[in-house]
């Protein structure tokens, strides 16, 4: 019998692959979250720590183990599993604390790609981008390559690999090397994927910075989706019963799981938020019509049929209620003036208006001390859309930010500069307009209700990364060589040999399947755009998406920020 002590961050991703019931079948009796102090009492033989390799966690573990030793309770065995990798430094720290010997097993559990949805895999490695671009630590790329190898072992060798960016090149190299070193020889599985596209996040820094305008994207922007779960303010979800108006509203946030298993959500998640309302009201009509049918049910057979549909209908109704509430919550925000102003400025930048001047709105926001991340998003967006800011503009922004938010943010600004999000315009030429025009990144006539182009996900801006994927499928990257050269990092194509017996014989009308791997994170809007491409009737390509982490502008910038606490005086 055993108990698991969880690093709290890991419970989310693990919840997606192993529920408590499954663990219980494997004799896990208790589960705790890792906390300082003593371990809660549990009558178990083994204690297993599941932790990320972080030094501060090691200190907590050491405290746990030491206090356990003092109590002299029945001897327990300790084990430690590092996710996703063992770390020498952590073991060293445990050794320094004198508890390393207490652990009977020290292993690593390399959790690479976790399925998030039918077409979405993520490694949930929150610091991948920061590690790759700021710290020059490419461990996460190694894990990505390993995840891809696992995927290939299960779904066959992917014959073509395309990529853009330094990290992509690196991952492809590692994959090729791992394949060469794989002693089992040829993989004899029929290849499912036709193409793998590896994309660096720094090829497209713009998309995460802009505000996503799909339903799911907005939920993420506003409330943050963590491992497919979202926590929402409970007020709107209180059961509305008459006569109970004065009763206390629930204070616990409402937690909802969001994935395509929910029929309604699958339909609306990738729509532009402006198109969600009409779908919801249509759904509402259909459901109430379906409920009305009971009045028409005359015969016992009809009633029986109605009753058998009832659970499904009730589920649909509650799902509709939930999403209506969420939509209301979001609408409150999207209709606010501030949201609108912010969006206007973003769209101005993305369509290339006044990107080289100090922006009034940004200045005002700084003056009013709006949240720093919002400011950074705006400034970075402007910098990216202008291929860097002029010295004067950049200095002004920096000064304003430092004076308003505090000098300690100088490190954050440095980080952003290092990552290329905020930079000085080096050449006199601004590449962004060329890129925008060639790749048609800005579409003026957007149809949000019935979109005909991926630009609907940002109501005008077509995410560059997805455009690259789209152009790769048709007509191919050769047509955009010039632009590819302007984007950072090399682009490349690799072919992996597969035996002739396994080569695909394409049937008429059969879609090609492309795996798009975003190194450094992907936003929900980009995912929506790729799903939109999959569903296009004449597209001919379907997409599966993999990434190191699901991000949005806020979480992304946050991961690049340096936290400094002034010393107490």
């Amino acid at each position: 019998s055993s108990a698991i002590v969880w690093d709290e961050y890991l419970t989310g991703p693990f919840g997606l692959i192993a529920q408590y019931s499954l663990l219980k079948e494997h004799e896990v009796e208790k589960m705790f979250t890792l906390k300082a102090g003593r371990l809660p009492p549990a009558d178990v033989k083994n204690i297993i720590f599941f932790v990320r390799p972080k030094l501060e966690l090691m200190d907590i573990i050491a405290e746990n183990v030491l206090s356990e030793d003092r109590v002299r309770s029945p001897q327990r065995d300790f084990h430690i599993l590092f996710v996703p990798r063992r770390s020498l430094l952590c073991e060293q720290r445990l050794k320094d604390q004198g508890v390393l010997g207490s652990f009977i097993h020290r292993e690593q559990y390399s959790l690479d790609l976790i399925p998030f949805d039918g077409d979405l895999l993520s490694m949930e490695s929150e610091t991948a981008f920061k590690e790759c671009y700021l710290e020059n630590d490419q461990t996460s790329l190694y894990h990505a390559a390993k995840g891809l190898m696992t995927l290939q072992a299960l779904y066959g060798t992917i014959p073509q690999i395309f990529g853009k960016g330094d990290c992509a090149r690196h991952v492809a190299n590692m994959m090729i090397r791992m394949k060469r070193e794989f002693p089992g020889g040829q993989n004899s599985i029929f290849p499912v994927f036709d193409t793998l596209l590896l994309l660096d996040r720094n090829v497209d820094l713009l998309s995460p910075l802009a505000t996503q305008l799909t339903y799911e994207g907005l939920i993420d922007e506003i409330y943050g989706i963590q491992n497919t779960y979202v926590k929402l303010p409970p007020e709107k979800f209180a059961p509305k019963k008459q006569g109970e108006g004065g009763k206390d509203l629930p204070t616990e946030p409402k937690k909802l799981q969001l994935n395509s298993a929910e029929e309604l959500y699958a339909e609306i998640r990738d729509k532009n938020f402006n198109a969600v309302g009409s779908v919801l009201s249509k759904k509402a009509k259909i459901i109430s019509a379906a409920f009305e049918e009971r009045h028409h049910a005359k015969t016992v057979g009809e009633i029986k049929q109605f009753v058998s549909q009832l659970p499904h209908m009730q589920a649909a109704r509650s799902s509709l209620a939930n999403h209506t509430s969420i939509a209301e919550l979001i609408k409150d925000i999207t209709t606010s003036e501030d949201f609108f102003d912010n969006l206007t400025v973003e769209q101005e930048f993305m369509s290339g208006i006044d990107t080289d001047k100090i922006n009034n709105y940004t200045e005002d926001c700084i003056a009013q001390k709006h949240p720093l991340i919002k400011i950074l998003r705006l400034v970075c967006l402007q910098s990216v859309c202008n291929s860097g800011l002029k010295q004067k503009v950049l200095d002004h922004y920096k000064r304003e930010i430092l004076q308003t938010y505090g000098y300690e943010h100088i490190l954050t600004l440095n980080n952003l500069e290092k990552a290329g999000l905020l930079k000085l315009q080096t050449s006199s030429r601004n590449n962004y307009p060329t890129i925008r025009k060639t790749l048609r990144l800005w579409m003026d006539d957007v149809n949000e209700q019935n979109p005909n182009d991926i630009s609907y996900v940002y109501s005008g801006y077509a995410p560059l990364s997805v455009r690259l994927a789209q152009l790769l499928a048709r007509p191919g990257w050769r047509s955009i060589e010039e632009v590819l050269k302007m984007l950072p990092g090399p682009h490349f194509e690799e072919r992996q040999q597969i035996p002739t017996g396994l080569q695909k014989k394409r049937q008429q009308g059969e879609n090609r399947l492309t795996l798009v791997f975003f190194l450094g994170g992907v936003t929900y809007a980009e995912i929506a755009a790729l799903r939109f491409l999959s569903q296009m009737e004449d597209g001919g390509t379907e997409y599966i998406i993999a990434t190191t982490k699901l991000i949005n502008g806020t979480s992304w910038i946050k991961s690049l920020m340096e936290k400094l606490e002034p010393p107490p005086f």
């Binding site: 030094l55 990798r85 063992r86 770390s87 020498l88 430094l89 292993e107 690593q108 559990y109 390399s110 710290e135 020059n136 630590d137 490419q138 461990t139 790329l141 190694y142 390993k146 190898m149 696992t150 072992a153 299960l154 690196h170 190299n173 590692m174 090397r177 791992m178 060469r180 070193e181 794989f182 002693p183 089992g184 020889g185 200045e363 005002d364 700084i366 003056a367 009013q368 001390k369 010295q391 950049l394 200095d395 920096k398 000064r399 304003e400 430092l402 004076q403 308003t404 938010y405 505090g406 000098y407 300690e408 100088i410 490190l411 440095n414 400094l564 606490e565 002034p566 010393p567 005086f569």
Partner: protein, 815 residues
């Protein structure tokens, strides 16, 4: 040559003298035993191995044995000699079985030495008058008197005969002085490198070929060098002169014995001798090079540490040769096509990194008990990276990129390294012969079930291992042909095993797949990069692709950190950007000071600046750190950062002052917050000053001031402020701020005032709020307020409010 010690069963109390490998002469003094003073002493000559060669009686009672000499090459006869009391000297030679002797007559002989030169056996005599005479050949007795030594009043403390360029010389030491006597003159000499404080000479010895000389002083130091006194080979306890070079074709430039430190630079141009020879505990000089084609640059014996860098450009010798217990230098390279970079014998530890670029030799050759260096690579297509013989442990990671040779070849008793990989499709990573243990690699364990089938073949565990490892791609015969003692019959089951392996591998595939999720340590992919990373970090950036595996890189980095000295370690890191950045992360967690040093070393002002900023927030002395940050930033190219930092320092100074004056916390507020709280406290003057000092843009200052004043509820001040200057942000923003700050009925009123009371410019309120404002004004019974609200009303929409206000005004007027 061989050095051996025999213990002989003689119970000798007499003198026994025998130089190197020569016969021993023994003067048996029968006096003591037989108590007969007149009896003559017996001179016996023995060969080096103890066989008696000759024996003869001396004619007079002797003083004792003085010297005996080795055989003359031409005649093959050994010679012995003795000094007869006071009168002369007997020189005896034993040839064949009998003996013959020659007596040299001289008065008052004090000491005599027999020597051998190309002219034959000679004798040198020191008389009681402190004069030397010598003859170079005793067969042709012609005594030559040597010149007088000036001021010699007593017997010299020691002396020796030298023969140089066919001239016989006498070297004698009196106290601290050395004199060299030739046939005509006497000169004072000093050995090079001898310290003046070395003391008086007490003993000297000359090598049998008169080339080398050793001197011992009463302080215990030993000087060794050439007999010409021109080159010093070594000094024990003293430091040899800083630069030495040996031009002699036969001697090393330096010879170090225990504890001596050789001079810092040495070079040997001789084709036959190493530049340096180190014996136990001596440390060779840091840089050595041997240009000779036949001799290693350094030769280290037990416990000696070879210099850190060596290179051999010679085609025939390894750069370093280490014998038992010696540690070869950390970096070696052999560019020679025929010789391994390092050759380690029992117990020697080869240097951590070696590489052989030669196509024919392994990078390292380890014999019994030697531990090969941790990382090796062979780029040669024909040679394994490592060759380990009995008991040697191959390095932990090896890889062979060659298509034809295994990465490692282990012979009897050797243990192959734990991780191996072969990129070649034809060759197993490791080839183990009799008794060698295959590495405990997970891959091996994974295939173990299949391998067991072959285990029944006697003694062929190792073979079953390579079949498993090669996963069927190695032709069985070829792999097995290396294993000794294999009969062809043994091949068949192995072939079968091989076949089974491949099918087994096939079946294992799904298992592996699932295991790749559950226990990723077992995936083959996990093995190779580790090793690769390790090699990459220690060999110098040969490949441009970067490794990305934190743990192994850390392993290597930490190992290097412990092994190398700091400077070398940093230099090594410089070449490894990934390792460097990982080490930076490590330092960020554990050794902040090192981080500083690293940035300092790289001249990375940005990083250094960041470090100081970090430090300033975690330590007390923030000011100093920030000025340091500022300084380092200024040195860098960044234009704006130093300005920002300077501003911050200025701000901190002001905040401290404010904190002292106003007794409220200000330090480490941002400038914005500082001004804000100053306004909140009503210190408008100070706020204005900050505004000017830091050149806060007008716009921001207005926003700041309006919101602060609104929060303070200071509407009079707000109104005053709004009227003071034309607002750069318009008068609109004041209202929503006022509305949000002051919920309640009087909000719109405040808002109106915030708008600066300018009717033409102020915002329009929705009717409801205007109504509230009117109510508030009526309640206050304040006419100006009423007028203000009235000004906001438009006749068309707000007639009700207008009317209400007029009524209130009328009422007010009545009162």
């Amino acid at each position: 040559r061989k050095f051996e010690l025999y213990s002989m069963a003689w119970n000798l109390q007499e003198d026994l003298r025998a130089p190197y490998l020569s016969p021993a002469a023994l003067l048996k003094n029968n006096l003591r035993r037989e108590k007969s003073p007149s009896s003559r002493p017996l001179l016996e000559i023995y060969s080096a191995s103890g066989l008696p060669l000759a024996s003869m009686p001396g004619n007079r009672p002797g003083l004792g044995l003085s010297s005996s000499g080795g055989g003359e090459e031409g005649r093959g006869w050994p010679w012995g000699g003795g000094v007869q009391e006071e009168t002369g000297c007997l020189v005896a030679g034993g040839g064949g079985g009998g003996g013959e002797g020659t007596e040299v007559l001289q008065n008052r002989v004090r000491e005599a030495k027999v020597f051998h030169t190309e002219y034959g056996t000679g004798v040198a005599i020191l008389t009681g008058a402190h004069r030397f005479s010598l003859t170079t050949n005793i067969d042709d007795l012609k005594l030559r008197r040597m010149p007088e030594v000036p001021g010699l009043q007593k017997l010299p403390s020691c002396w020796a005969v030298l023969s140089q360029d066919r001239v016989t010389l006498i070297l004698l030491a009196v106290g601290q002085d050395l004199y060299l006597l030739d046939s005509t003159s006497c000169s004072v000499v000093t050995p090079p490198g001898m310290s003046p404080h070395a003391g008086a000479y007490v003993q000297m010895a000359v090598s049998f070929n008169y080339r080398y000389l050793a001197l011992l002083t009463d302080t215990g130091s030993i000087w060794m060098g050439t007999a010409s006194l021109k080159a010093c080979l070594c000094l024990s306890g003293a430091r040899p002169p800083p630069s030495l070079s040996s031009e002699s074709p036969r001697i090393p430039a330096c010879l170090c014995l225990s504890g001596a430190r050789p001079p810092p630079s040495l070079s040997s141009e001789s084709p036959r001798v190493p530049a340096c020879l180190c014996l136990s505990g001596a440390r060779p000089p840091p840089s050595l090079s041997s240009e000779s084609p036949r001799i290693p640059a350094c030769l280290c014996l037990s416990g000696a540490r070879p210099p850190p860098s060596l290179s051999s450009e010679s085609p025939r010798v390894p750069a370093c040769l280490c014998l038992s217990g010696a540690r070869p230098p950390p970096s070696l390279s052999s560019e020679s096509p025929r010789i391994p970079a390092c050759l380690c014998l029992s117990g020697a530890r080869p240097p951590p990194s070696l590489s052989s670029e030669s196509p024919r030799v392994p990078a390292c050759l380890c014999l019994s008990g030697a531990r090969p260096p941790p990382s090796l690579s062979s780029e040669s297509p024909r040679i394994p990276a490592c060759l380990c013989l009995s008991g040697a442990r191959p390095p932990p990671s090896l890889s062979s990129e060659s298509p034809r040779v295994p990465a490692c070849l282990c012979l009897s008793g050797a243990r192959p390294p734990p991780s191996l990989s072969s990129e070649s499709p034809r060759i197993p990573a490791c080839l183990c012969l009799s008794g060698a243990r295959p590495p405990p690699s997970p891959t091996c364990q994974l295939h173990l079930p299949c391998a067991q089938g072959a285990g029944s073949v006697p003694g062929q565990r190792a073979c079953s291992f390579h079949t498993a490892q090669g996963a069927g791609s190695v032709p069985g015969q070829r792999a097995c042909s290396f294993a000794p003692g294999l009969t062809p019959g043994a091949l068949a089951p192995r072939k079968r095993a091989r076949r089974r392996t491949s099918t087994c591998a096939h079946r294992l595939l799904p298992a592996w797949r699932s295991s790749s999720v559950q226990a990723p340590g077992l995936t083959p992919g996990a093995l190779a990069p580790r090793k690769r990373a390790r090699r990459r970090t220690s060999t110098c950036g040969r490949s441009r692709t970067r490794s990305c595996y934190r743990r192994p890189v850390y392993t290597v980095v930490l190992h290097l950190k412990n092994e190398l000295n700091r400077g070398t370690f940093f230099m090594t890191l410089q070449k490894q950007p990934v390792a460097l950045s990982l080490y930076r992360q490590f330092c960020k967690h554990q050794e902040l000071e090192t981080l500083k040093d690293l940035s300092n070393q790289d001249d990375d002002h940005q990083e250094l600046g960041n470090f100081h900023v970090h430090a300033s927030y975690s330590k007390e002395q923030s000011r100093e750190h920030r000025s340091a940050a500022c300084e380092s930033r200024r040195r860098g190219v960044l234009a704006s950062a130093p300005q920002a930092t300077e501003d911050q320092i200025k701000l901190l100074r002001m905040q401290r002052r404010l904190q002292d004056e106003l007794d409220k916390p200000y330090v480490d507020f941002s400038l914005h917050d500082t001004v804000y709280s100053l306004i909140l406290d009503g210190s408008h003057k100070r706020a204005e000053q900050l505004y000017r000092d830091f050149r806060i843009p007008d716009k921001r200052f207005w926003w700041l001031k309006i919101s602060a004043l609104a929060e303070r509820d200071d509407w009079e001040e707000l109104e005053k402020f709004s009227k003071s200057k034309k607002s750069p942000i318009g008068y609109l923003p004041g209202c929503p701020i006022a509305l949000s700050m002051r919920p309640g009925p009087s909000a719109p009123l405040s808002a109106a005032r915030a708008g600066g009371g300018r009717a033409h410019n102020s915002p329009r309120f929705p009717g409801r709020e205007l109504d509230q404002a009117a109510d508030a004004a009526i309640e206050h019974k304040n006419e100006t307020e009423l007028n203000l609200v009235l000004a906001k009303c438009t006749a068309a929409t707000d007639s009700a409010v207008t009317e209400k206000i007029h009524r209130a005004k009328a009422q007010l007027l009545k009162k």
